[in-house]
C-alpha cells in the first residue's frame, strides 16, 4: 500500500481535530479557532491533492475496510472503509479546496465583523468538513448514510448559528426536518440493500452494483420479496434517491434550501452551494453502477432534475435578496446535475458538479463580500453602483455570474453544455422521453441568463440606491483572496474537459481530461467506461446525432449559448439604466405566485397540519377508543367483580374460621363422591 493511502484517514481527522480544538479551547485560541481550521483544511487540501496526483500518475486505487463496527461473522457486517477511486479523489480536492477558502473568508465575514459564538462556528465548520470528507471516502452505503446524516446535523447547527434571532432557528429546523424526511427513505434503502445483497460495498466485483448486475443477468439470484428483480432494484434505487433528492434540494424537497440562507454567508457557500448539497448528486454518482441498470429510475432522476432546473429558475427571476437568487439558482443547477445523471451523462454530471462548486462558492462569497460592504443589507434594491467601490468583488462576481449563466468561454458553459449534449444525444438515440427533460433544462438556460445578469446589474451597476451603497464598508485580504482564487478557477475550470473542442478538432488533440480520468479502468468497476457499457446494455441509452457528432455539438452548444445570451441581453436591456424599474412587478399574479414559491411552503405546511395532524388525531382516537378501550373494558370487569367479592372479607375472624371449615367439609364431600365412598 502506498504511503499516501496510509495517510488518507488524516484527511478526515485533521478537520475533526480542528473541531475538537475550536469547541473546547476556541475561546483562548488565535482568532477563536479560525487559525486551527485554516491549517487543518490546508493540510487536508494538500493531502487530497497528493492523493489525486498519486492516483493520476500511478492509477493505483485504494479500497480497504478501516474499522468494523458490527462483525456479524458471515452475515451482514457493518464497516467503515476507505475507497479512493477517481470520483472520490477528485471530490476530496473540491471539498477541501472550498472548505479551506471558506475558512479564510470567515476571518473577514465573522471575525472582523465581531460576531459572537466564533468557537462554536469554527467547531461547526470543522465537524462539517470532517463529515463531508468521510462521506466522500466512504466505501459502503452504510458508512455513507452515517456521514450523510452528520453533514445534515452540521448544516442544522450552522444555519441556526444566530439562534437568538427568530428566523435562523426556524430555518435550521426546517432544513433538518425536510432533509431528514428524504433520509428516511434512504435509511430504508440502505437496509434494503444490505438485506438483498448482504453487502453495501460500492466498488469491485464484491460491491452491490456488481452483484445487482449479476442478479439481472441471471447468474445469481437474490431475494426480491416477490417483485421482479428489476422491479425490486428500482424500488431500492428510488428509496436511496429519496435521500439524494432531500440533500440536493430537488423538487419536492427543495423548500429548505432558500430558508437555509438565514445562516452565515460562508456557511451558505460551503454547505448550501458547493459541498453538502452536492452530497446527493455525489451519492447517485457513487453508486451509478447500480442506477445504470435501472432505466425507470434513470428516467425519474432525469425528469425530476429537468423539472427542478426550470422550476427553481423561474422563482429566482423575481427574488429581491441576493442570497435568495443564489439559493434558487443552486437548486436549479443541481437539477442540471440530476438531469445529467438521469440522462446517462456521468462525466457531465461530475463536471458540472465541479464547475458549479467553484462558481457558486465564488458567487456566495462575493455576495458575502457585498453583504459586509452593505452592513448586512441583502436587498438588491438597496444596492447599486458597487462596481466602482468594490473592484475585486465585482470582477470576480462577474466571472462567477457569467459561468453560472453559461456564457462562452467561462467554466459553466462547458459543463452545462455537456449536460445538455448528453441528454440530447440519448434522447435522439431512442429514449424520446428525455426530450421533455431536455426542453425544460433548455428553457431554464434562458431564465438562468436572465436572473444572473439581473442580479449583477441590480447589485453592482446603476446609481447607488441607499446611503450604505454610497459609501460601502471596505473588505480585507481575507475576503479578496478566496474570491480571486475562485474567480480565476471559475474562468478556467472548464478546461478540464474540453470535449466539444476535442471533437471539433477531430480527436487529434486530447482535451477531455476529466472524461479520460473518470473513464479509465483501475479495477474497481467504478469507472466511466464501465458505466457507459451498463447504460448501453441495460438502460438502452444509445447515442444518435443530427447529421454527425460535430454538427450536433455545434447545434446544441449554439442553442444553449444563444438562449443564455438572449436571457442575459434581455436582462441587460431591462435593468441597465442608472435607476432600473422593478420590471418583475409587471408580471402581476405570476409575480405573486413566484414570490410565494408556488405556495410550496404553504402546501407542505398543509401536508403537515392539515393532513398529518388529522391522520394522527384519527389514529389517536382509534388508539384511545378501540385499543385502550378494550383493555379498559377487561380491567373494569375485574374491578367490578373484585369490588363485589371483597365483601366476604368481613374482618371478623370467626367468619374466616367458618369459611375454612365449610370449605374443608365441601372438599371432603367432593372427595367422598369422586372416591366412591358414599
Amino acid at each position: 500500500m502506498a504511503l499516501i493511502y496510509e495517510l488518507t484517514p488524516a484527511i478526515v481527522f485533521l478537520p475533526l481535530a480542528s473541531f475538537a480544538l475550536a469547541l473546547f479551547f476556541g475561546q483562548w485560541m488565535p482568532k477563536k479557532g479560525a487559525v486551527a481550521g485554516i491549517l487543518a483544511t490546508l493540510g487536508t487540501l494538500g493531502l487530497s491533492l497528493v492523493t489525486l496526483g498519486w492516483l493520476v500518475l500511478t492509477g493505483e486505487p485504494h479500497d480497504a475496510t478501516w474499522y468494523t463496527l458490527v462483525d456479524a461473522d458471515g452475515a451482514v457486517n457493518l464497516t467503515f472503509g476507505i475507497l479512493i477511486d477517481q470520483l472520490s479523489a477528485a471530490m476530496l480536492v473540491i471539498v477541501s479546496l472550498i472548505a479551506f477558502l471558506v475558512h479564510v473568508f470567515s476571518l473577514g465575514y465573522m471575525n472582523d465583523e465581531g460576531e459572537p459564538g466564533l468557537p462554536r462556528y469554527y467547531a461547526g465548520l470543522g465537524l462539517f468538513t470532517a463529515s463531508m470528507l468521510a462521506f466522500v471516502i466512504a466505501d459502503n452505503l452504510f458508512m455513507a448514510f452515517v456521514f450523510f446524516e452528520l453533514v445534515g446535523l452540521c448544516s442544522y447547527l450552522l444555519i441556526g448559528h444566530w439562534f437568538g434571532e427568530d428566523a435562523p432557528p426556524s430555518a435550521a429546523k426546517k432544513a433538518f426536518l425536510v432533509t431528514r424526511f428524504g433520509d428516511y427513505f434512504f435509511l430504508v434503502g440502505v437496509v434494503g440493500v444490505l438485506v438483498t445483497f448482504g453487502t453495501a460495498g460500492f466498488a469491485g466485483s464484491e460491491g452491490f452494483p456488481a452483484l445487482a448486475e449479476q442478479a439481472l443477468t441471471g447468474e445469481t439470484s437474490v431475494n426480491t420479496f416477490g417483485l421482479s428483480t428489476e422491479g425490486w432494484f428500482s424500488v431500492l434505487g428510488l428509496l436511496v434517491l429519496g435521500g439524494a433528492l432531500g440533500k440536493s434540494a430537488q423538487f419536492p424537497f427543495h423548500t429548505w434550501l432558500p430558508d437555509a440562507m438565514e445562516g452565515p454567508t460562508p456557511v451558505s457557500a460551503l454547505i448550501h452551494a458547493a459541498t453538502m448539497v452536492a452530497a446527493g448528486v455525489y451519492l447517485i454518482a457513487r453508486i451509478y453502477g447500480f442506477y445504470a441498470l435501472l432505466p425507470t429510475v434513470l428516467g425519474v432522476i432525469a425528469f425530476v432534475g429537468g423539472f427542478t432546473a426550470l422550476f427553481a429558475a423561474t422563482m429566482a427571476v423575481v427574488k429581491n435578496e441576493i442570497k435568495q437568487v443564489l439559493a434558487y439558482s443552486t437548486i436549479s443547477q443541481y437539477g442540471y446535475m440530476m438531469l445529467a445523471l438521469g440522462a446517462g451523462g456521468y462525466v457531465a454530471a461530475f463536471f458540472h458538479l465541479t464547475t458549479h462548486a467553484i462558481f457558486k462558492a465564488l458567487l456566495f462569497l462575493g455576495a458575502g463580500s457585498v453583504i459586509i460592504a452593505m452592513h448586512h443589507e441583502e436587498d438588491m434594491w438597496e444596492m447599486g453602483g458597487l462596481k466602482d467601490e468594490m473592484r475585486t468583488t465585482y470582477l470576480t462576481f462577474l466571472a462567477g455570474s457569467l459561468a453560472l449563466a453559461g456564457i462562452f468561454p467561462f467554466s459553466g458553459f462547458w459543463s452545462k453544455d455537456e449536460v445538455l449534449f448528453e441528454t440530447l444525444v440519448h434522447a435522439l438515440g431512442g429514449s424520446p422521453l428525455l426530450f421533455g427533460a431536455y426542453a425544460m433544462a433548455l428553457s431554464a438556460v434562458f431564465l438562468t441568463g436572465f436572473y444572473t445578469i439581473r442580479m449583477v446589474l441590480l447589485s453592482f451597476h446603476g446609481e447607488p440606491r441607499s446611503d450604505t451603497a454610497e459609501d460601502p464598508h471596505g473588505v480585507g485580504w481575507n475576503v479578496k483572496f478566496p474570491l480571486v482564487v475562485l474567480g480565476a478557477l471559475a474562468v478556467v475550470a472548464g478546461g478540464i474537459n474540453l470535449l466539444p473542442v476535442e471533437k471539433l478538432l477531430g480527436g487529434s488533440l486530447h482535451l477531455a481530461f476529466l472524461e479520460g480520468y473518470l473513464g479509465q479502468d483501475i479495477g474497481l468497476l467504478t469507472h466511466g467506461e464501465h458505466y457507459s457499457e451498463l447504460l448501453h446494455d441495460y438502460a438502452g441509452y444509445r447515442s444518435e446525432y443530427i447529421g454527425n457528432e460535430v454538427t450536433t455539438i455545434l447545434l446544441g452548444a449554439g442553442l444553449s449559448l444563444g438562449l443564455a445570451l438572449l436571457g442575459a441581453v434581455s436582462a441587460y436591456g431591462l435593468y441597465r439604466g442608472a435607476a432600473p424599474a422593478r420590471h418583475t412587478e409587471k408580471l402581476g399574479g405570476v409575480q405573486t405566485l413566484l414570490m410565494h414559491n408556488y405556495y410550496q411552503d404553504e402546501y407542505q405546511v398543509w401536508l403537515a397540519e392539515g393532513l398529518t395532524v388529522r391522520l394522527s388525531a384519527a389514529a389517536d382516537t382509534f388508539d384511545q377508543g378501540v385499543i385502550d378501550g378494550t383493555v379498559n373494558a377487561v380491567s373494569s370487569v375485574s374491578l367490578f367483580s373484585g369490588g363485589r367479592i371483597r365483601r366476604i372479607q368481613s374482618g371478623v375472624v370467626t367468619n374466616y374460621a367458618a369459611l375454612i371449615v365449610l370449605s374443608l367439609l365441601a372438599l371432603l364431600v367432593v372427595f367422598a363422591i369422586l372416591g366412591g365412598w358414599l
Binding site: 371483597r646 374482618g651 375472624v653 370467626t654 374460621a657 367458618a658 371449615v661
Partner: protein, 104 residues
Amino acid sequence: MVLETVPAEYYLVLSAAVFCIGLFGVLTRRNAMMFLMSVELLLNAANVNLVAFAFYWGNVTGQTFVLFTMALAAAEVAVGIGIILVLHRNFDDVDVTDATTLKW
C-alpha cells in the same frame, strides 16, 4: 397391660370429640381467651391421634412429634396472649368481632 386392651378406634373417637369441641369453640365464642383455649383443644386432639398411632404401631416418632407440637403450642400461647393484650389495649375489650379494621 390394660392399655393393650383399648383398641385404636376409641382414641380416634376421643380425638374427634375433642377436635369438635375445639372447633365449636372457635366458631361460636367471641372472647379471645376462649379462642385461645379452643385452639389448644384442637392441637391436643391432634396430639392424641399422634400418640395413639405411635403406640399402635410401636413407633416413637409420633410421640416425638407430640413433644414438638407441645413446644409449638406453648409458643403459640405466648404470642396469642401478647396479641390479646394489644387487642385489649386498643379496643378495651377482648371481643374478636370488634377488631375488624384490618381489612380492605
